[in-house]
Amino acid sequence: MAKVLMKGNEAIAEAAIRAGCDGYFGYPITPQTELLEYMSRRMPELGRAFVQGESEIASINMVLGAAAAGKRAMTSSSSPGVSLKQEGISFLAGNELPAVIVNIMRGGPGLGNVQPSQSDYFQATKGGGHGDYFPIVLAPSTVQEAIDFTILAFELADKYRNPAMILGDGSIGQIMEPVELPEVESKPPDKPWAVTGCKGREKNIIRSLYLLAGPLEARNVILQKKYREIEANEQRHAEFMLEGAEMVIVAYGTTGRVAQTAITRARDEGMPVGLFRPITLYPYPKDAISSLVEQARVFLVLEMSAGQMLEDVELAVKGTVPVEFQGWLGGRVPTPSEVTQTIKEIRTKYLK
């Protein structure tokens, strides 16, 4: 298949179209806006729905409506906008509605800036809105992965009737890379629960209100069972030069990519270091990390945040091996030399 040069945001949009996205609803915000603009052009061409909502709140609720109607639906935004979508994401989870949400993260808190960041990890992976729920969260580190994971997000959302999120940092949205756009074979499953008009069947009700403790407890038990199933089946990660690595770097997205360059250099200098790159941030690939404690003498977590994923690594490692951390704040992206320097320091501390 011929490669084309595409910007991350546009690639996600085109991937969603190929995945059969029937409705896109969004609101402009840097560094994600090209996604919305691409959709505004392509969706009407294909006779599909595009609405620029009056806010992120409206957009996520339009997504909820389209998902309730049994269609594949998507919204995209960046950090401040995704904060506004949390109520809607909680309702999607409570209603068990599949939908895809893209967060091209920027620096925060507050208005922050429009530079790349990974500081929405807690919000994305721990529920984000109210109630006991988790969206499925996928973290691309290249434009090609952004495409592949977008398609996967639609499939997983449908499979588990749950919201799924693409969590990319600003550089994933803005970078241009040669990519292959696959033809998507998979068809959405039948959705007998959808509100399509009750012709020939009992009426369908989509709701999250259960006024009494008993029924709501029962409802939550069902949801939790689903999350355990997702955790058992869908943990995904990538490995780079882990063979013989005594120092295991854990980093996702752009940070994982920077780490990869730094690791190549460190290996050239004979340092036994490798990369564990989570692809699913929920479910967190904790089983694979846990099994690495046999091999690793130290973990080094790198994030463009003050240390959010760090907690999940610590939980997986359970204090058996030291876990070190380096973070970059305010939209600063690490350079490979900074990471190489850190690798050297950690090596001196633990491996010599």
């Binding site: 029937d22 409705g23 609803f25 599909r48 729905a49 609405v51 909502g53 009056e54 806010s55 709140i57 409206a58 957009s59 609720n61 339009m62 997504v63 909820l64 409506g65 389209a66 998902a67 309730a68 109607a69 049994g70 269609k71 639906a73 109520e87 809607g88 309702f91 209603n95 509100v195 399509t196 008009g197 009750c198 012709k199 020939g200 009426k203 369908n204 009700i205 989509i206 709701r207 999250s208 209100l209």
Partner: protein, 254 residues
């Protein structure tokens, strides 16, 4: 008339179920009118209703067709999402005045302005019913509620929001009317307006809303009869009944 002929029955669009609404509350009458209209238009099997957050959150217990429960105030956005991907469905929202005129103001104004091809039944009972009778945007000046214990002071709380008047200003709206259901003549007129609002959507003419002045005897602290009278005497003067916007295509509807 032959013996045994059924001349009055529960609409197929309504369930046979006991009501949870308080004595004297007019939500039930409005549900009934929607049910009758949906039956008469023969659209039960293609209709999707959106229930609000408010006393009508359980509307799906009464409506016998597909229903979605929206977050507080977001029903017009949910309806937009459904209608845009499934234009063959008839989509309507049912919303109270806290839902539509407080937290959901942005969603309703923009749905109207986009000329979204949906129908809205807006129930104005001048209070937040479900949470126990606090001030709503529609609470009248001087009206005592649990959050305006000495009466709504317009200098502090601002003025009651006139939804029909505001939305009639949006270019996208096709049909905007205000009715009530306190007397049989009003009930008949209200049903006609609700029917027009659904016909507007069926003809693809755009956004239609019927504001229905409604009672909340429990939170107003009145008997059902007193509440009906209080509405007629106090709410209708502030919120005059009538048609606020009827585009020519709607006027021409059969």
């Amino acid at each position: 008339m032959p013996e045994g002929e059924v001349v009055f029955a529960r609409p197929a669009a309504l369930e046979d179920t006991p009501t949870h609404y308080c004595p004297g509350c007019t939500h039930g009458i409005i549900h009934r009118l929607i049910g009758e209209v949906i039956d008469e238009l023969g659209i039960r099997e293609i209709t999707v209703g959106i229930a609000p957050v408010g006393c009508a959150v359980l509307a799906y217990h009464y409506f016998n067709f597909d229903t979605v429960e929206a977050a507080h105030g977001r029903a017009p956005a949910v309806a937009t999402g459904i209608k845009r991907v499934s234009p063959e469905n008839v989509v309507f929202t049912y919303q109270g005045d806290g839902d539509l005129a407080a937290i959901g103001t942005a969603e309703i104004v923009h749905a109207a302005n986009r000329g979204e091809n949906i129908t809205v039944v807006f129930v104005n009972n001048a209070v937040f019913g479900m949470t126990g009778g606090q001030m709503a945007p529609t609470t009248l000046p001087g009206q005592v509620t649990t959050s305006t214990p000495t009466g709504r002071d317009v200098k502090v709380d601002g003025y009651p929001v006139k939804v029909a008047e505001i939305l009639a200003q949006t270019t996208g709206a096709a049909y905007i009317a205000r009715r009530t259901v306190t007397q049989p003549k009003y009930v008949r007129s209200c049903k006609k307006a609700i029917k027009t609002a659904f016909k507007t959507q069926l003809a693809g003419l755009g956004f239609a809303l019927v504001e229905v002045l409604s009672t909340c005897s429990t939170n107003w602290g009145m008997s059902p009869m007193e509440a009906l009278r209080w509405l007629d005497e106090n709410m209708i003067p502030y919120y005059p009944l009538g048609d606020y916007k009827v585009i020519d295509e709607v006027k021409a509807l059969p």
